[in-house]
């Protein structure tokens, strides 16, 4: 616009900052939410299994069987306990006091020392807890190898050996994976929800009309209302970044400039979406609900933050493609962990840019149409 006056936008932004500072809800949301999310996803929810409880029923009571349980404990993944009454071990599994029961038969030690025979151990797992069981299963081959080597004293020959190395996140530390993704959830929520609320509030209490009775332009209103929330969004990103780097020692391999640019693009998409919601609803209550559904849920569930998109039904492969959080998730993780540059991220960046343009155009068009009679 030709005669865009920054001073008017600045007045609106200043007023907005005062609203924010005087509203406990906004302050709590902007400051508290990043903190809670980081604590929640960084510490409380740990997708890595450590110290899984296993109950060992040792009918053998030999040196070999004791060695076997030690191998389990020393791996760090398992914590071995012994039942008070060995005949009631199934009860422990029923009552979820243990994740599995390891049964060592009375002849375990003997079979082991007789050549040509395979000593067998039975492991009963709680199939009701799918994720835990699959985690345990993934640890078992390693334990088996360690046990075979230590108990028989010789390395078995393996005709084909698959050696897997995990690049970018060698320890498969789930925090490395989760914490950068938090930036997505945070921006998704702050930018969409707060923008939707702030503009809807002006409509709801009739003050938008007062703004419009002055020579102020729609673009000045948009820029003024949005700027403080861009800052809040970036503040949230900075918090997540510091928490990731300092709190969780997540490496950052990529370019900071590219990361900030991508954040701004994603924030833009969120703000436009929030603006669109507020113009359509014009009510804070409704705007809040719509923002939650269209903002929080996709960034939490459909972005690949927790559930990999590859394992979703085919429909969602396409559906998530129109959601900004999915692309920003790829970008955030790529820059953090892989050090990806523009070359590698050109696809997601382009997708984000297209969505920015579409959402921005829709929001400002609708907004201007409503404002200019």
């Amino acid at each position: 616009m030709i005669s865009f006056k920054f001073s008017r936008a600045r007045s609106i932004a200043l007023k907005e900052i005062r609203h924010i500072l005087r509203d406990p809800f906004t302050v709590a949301l902007a400051l508290g939410l990043p903190f809670i999310l980081v604590i929640f996803f960084g510490y409380a929810i740990d997708f890595d299994m450590k110290d899984i409880r296993l109950t060992c029923v040792d009918f053998d009571q030999s040196r070999a069987s004791r060695q076997l349980t030690e191998i389990f404990s020393e791996s760090g993944y398992f914590k071995i306990g012994f039942p008070e009454r060995p005949d009631l071990f199934l009860q422990e599994l029923d009552q979820e006091k243990t994740a599995g029961v390891l049964i060592v038969k009375p002849d375990f030690g003997k079979t082991l020392s007789s050549p040509g025979q395979t000593a067998k151990v039975q492991l009963l797992l709680d199939g009701a807890d799918n994720s835990k069981t699959s985690a345990i299963l993934s640890y078992l081959p390693g334990i088996q190898r360690a046990a075979a080597a230590r108990l028989t004293g010789l390395k078995r020959q393996e005709p084909v050996k698959l050696r897997t190395r995990f690049l970018f996140n060698p320890e498969l530390n789930s925090r490395w994976f989760v914490v950068p993704g938090l930036a997505t959830v945070l921006i998704g929520l702050i930018s969409i929800l707060l923008t939707a609320l702030t503009v809807a509030r002006e409509w709801e209490n009739g003050s938008m009309e007062l703004l419009l009775s002055t020579p102020v332009r729609p673009l000045e209103i948009i820029v003024g209302k949005i700027l403080p929330y861009v800052a809040l969004g970036l503040g949230g990103v900075l918090f997540v970044y510091l928490a990731a780097r300092i709190g969780f020692r997540v490496p950052f391999h990529g370019s900071h400039a590219l990361f900030i640019a991508a954040c701004l693009m994603f924030i833009m998409a969120g703000l436009s979406q929030g603006l669109l919601i507020s113009v359509v609803t014009r009510q804070q209550q409704l705007a809040m609900q719509l923002s939650m559904i269209s903002g929080l849920l996709p960034s939490l569930l459909l972005s690949g933050f927790i559930f990999p998109i590859e394992s979703m039904p085919v429909f969602f492969h396409y559906f998530t493609a129109i959601l900004p959080p999915r692309w920003f998730m790829v970008i955030a993780r790529g820059i953090f962990l892989k050090g990806a540059g523009i070359g590698e991220l050109i696809g997601p960046l382009a997708a984000l840019l297209v969505m920015d343009i579409v959402l921005m155009t829709a929001a400002t068009k609708r907004f201007k149409k409503d404002l200019e009679p």
Binding site: S7, K15, E209, L210, S213
Partner: protein, 306 residues
């Protein structure tokens, strides 16, 4: 420069099929207090919002301070002040913050803002500290502050949409004093109201019904024109007036009998006034009264619905 502050020709505003304002024509002189009176939904607010540049006329034209809507109404908006009935000031901002926000929207310099707030706070007699949150102010003071914010940029024309709804009678009297002070300084004030005592204070009143202008004149002229015949008020003073009312209704010299609270207003032909006055039964009082604006309103606005 156009001599009239506002000039409206055949102004029509439609929302879809609904005609909110229907072929309105009038002119408002500089320094005038011009009132819009009418029931809810009569089109008063739509008319005012159009004149402020918040809506565009569907047909017809309006010149406000000599300006039209050619540039999106921006020049016009710079010359007028507007106080809406729904929103006055931001509750969670202080007095000063509200003022500096209003100044920012109008691009007033800090010097002008300081000078004007000083002048206006004296004008409205503000005693509350300037760092008080607006939420803690009384309704009447809030209204006066909103007025100050609306005229911060010293507009020639001020539009007030039911400015005193929800404030105390004392505060209303104070507020109208401010409005008169403004017009004495040459400002033009256009106001909507549904309080009759407020309408009485307007220089001229535009009476609206279903988007149409049905009468436009000074309060005195409106009364004179609507009630050329004498208006009598019957006070039964606790007695049963029904027999007498029936006698009156049968009297060819009586034009109309209207209940008015616990009393009745009786319109008679001038030639029959004496006879009717002397026919009043003992213990009741019947006397000639000047018609009030409420009588005019009832006759013109509601009367046509019957």
């Amino acid at each position: 420069m156009s001599p009239a502050a506002v000039e409206v020709m055949e102004l029509t505003v439609r929302f879809g099929d609904f005609t909110a304002v229907d072929r309105l024509s009038f002119a408002v002189e500089r320094g005038e207090i011009f009132g819009f009176l009418g029931a809810n939904g009569a089109g008063k607010t739509t008319a005012i919002r159009t004149l402020c540049g918040l809506l565009r006329p569907t047909h017809g034209s309006a010149r406000v301070a000599g300006l039209g809507y050619e540039d999106g109404g921006r020049a016009l908006k710079g010359r007028v002040g507007y106080m809406s009935q729904r929103f006055t000031l931001y509750d969670d901002l202080t007095v000063d913050e509200n003022m500096s926000f209003a100044a920012g929207l109008r691009k007033l310099s800090p010097e002008v803002l300081a000078r004007r707030t000083e002048e206006l706070f004296e004008f409205i007699g503000l005693t509350a500290p300037r760092n008080t949150l607006v939420r803690h102010l009384a309704g009447g003071i809030k209204q006066e502050l909103a007025l100050a914010a609306a005229i911060l940029h010293d507009p020639e024309i001020l539009f007030l949409d039911e400015p005193t709804s929800g404030v105390s009678p004392v505060a209303r009297i104070r507020f109208w004093k401010l409005i008169r002070n403004l017009t004495e300084k040459g400002k033009t004030v256009i106001v909507t109201t549904h309080y009759m005592d407020e309408a009485e204070q307007c220089g001229r009143i535009a009476l609206m019904r279903s988007g149409r202008l049905i009468a436009l004149d000074s309060p005195a002229e409106l009364k004179e024109r609507t009630f050329p015949e004498p208006l009598l008020e019957l006070d039964a003073q606790g007695r049963d007036p029904d027999d007498f009312l029936n006698t009156l209704r049968r009297n060819p010299g009586v034009i109309d009998v209207q209940p008015y609270g616990s009393r009745h207003h009786v319109t008679v032909r001038s030639s029959s006034e004496e006879a009717v006055l002397s026919s009043v039964p003992a213990g009741m009082s019947l006397r000639r009264i000047p018609p009030s604006l409420e009588d005019v309103f009832l006759r013109l606005v509601e009367g046509k619905d019957r």
